[in-house]
Assembly symmetry: C2
Homo-oligomer: 181 residues x 2
DNA sequence: AATTACTGCTACAGTCATGCTGCAGTTAAG
DNA sequence: CTTAACTGCAGCATGACTGTAGCAGTAATT
């Protein structure tokens, strides 16, 4: 692939992720315009709208998978893995803000990958509970949901907090809550 | 208004909220069909699609406002008001699952009301912090975002937990977090 | 029971997004 | 420099959604 074509492709994917996050019904014309290319250029690379969506999803899943690998959720100590995961996943969520849970439903392949990654996190939360890092009286599913939402909130409602500090706050809130002693 | 007309109107609003939450680009035909009425019937009550959206938003805002009033966020003790608010707002969020922050942007009137209600919650969180219920080292804006997200998670990812128990878990997580002592 | 409100159905025009095609011009790469 | 890749532009067909209208039939209200 020629270098300028690769640049355009990346621009379309990133712009698409951004606009589709704001409005999932954004037209391909709007994405193309915002990305600085013609509508037909997008159609050359992605035959259908679905294909474009799939490509955006796969790009996000690729980034997320790298974070999951590097966090060493299975081997590393719970506290270390947790912090590494949060610090890594926040930039991914900011760069690919599309709502995966909602939009991937019609893409079986992406949905399958998403569930695989979700299962890895479920297992990690279970391990954290087993090793005594979580209160035994709260359901793991709730802990998992809270972790997701804390990450999403920090990523999108506080876009200016740098990943390390963001991870500090998320992990601290996750474990200790916000109430005064 | 005739009784059956009122029933249909309510059905359209509730169905609209549900379908629009799943997919914000749901067509009026789909909403009408799911609500059990003809498309033109919906058009008679709501001249444009925007008008239908506005009506759904107002319905949600009405319910939320009632909860805010009854929680007595200004007068009641912080712990009481917090629990009352969470217990009340979860059913509202379940009944009107449309994402307010995202979809009300183009409706100035709804957006204004939403901000007013948001400000009341901001003030309440500030009061909680002032009265020592929250850790002094966390930004109130973060506390506020976490509260919102805990409510949303509980409302939609755990639809089977009854409001009282749901409020218990949300408030407990909010104040104490999920980490073991 | 009579009246009025309300609904379903059919039909039509307008708009917009999608998907495809051909061609001329530009630009990266050898 | 030459070539091949890539792009922008103009155009066209299709389908979906929106919004409006008229009319006959049904059901709530008095």
């Amino acid at each position: 692939m020629r270098a300028d074509a690769a640049r355009n492709l990346a621009a379309v994917l990133r712009t698409g992720a951004r606009l589709l996050a704001e409005d999932p019904s954004t037209s391909m014309s709007a994405i193309a315009g915002e990305a600085g290319v013609d509508r037909t250029t997008v159609h050359r690379r992605f035959a259908t709208r679905e294909a474009l969506l799939s490509a955006v999803f796969q790009a996000k899943l690729d980034s997320a998978e790298r974070v999951l690998d590097e966090a060493r959720l299975v081997e590393a100590p719970v506290a270390v893995a947790l912090h590494r995961y949060v610090e890594g996943i926040i930039p991914v969520s900011r760069e690919w803000p599309v709502d995966t849970r909602r939009m991937m439903q019609k893409d079986p392949d992406a949905d399958r990958r998403r569930h695989e990654q979700s299962a890895r996190l479920d297992a990690f939360v279970q391990r954290a509970a087993d090793e005594g890092y979580l209160r035994p009286d709260v359901p793991p599913a709730w802990a998992r949901a809270v972790l997701d939402q804390l990450v999403e909130s920090m990523a999108h409602r506080f876009p200016d907090v740098a990943p390390p500090q963001a991870a500090d706050l998320v992990v601290d809130t996750f474990l200790n809550g916000l109430g005064a002693a």
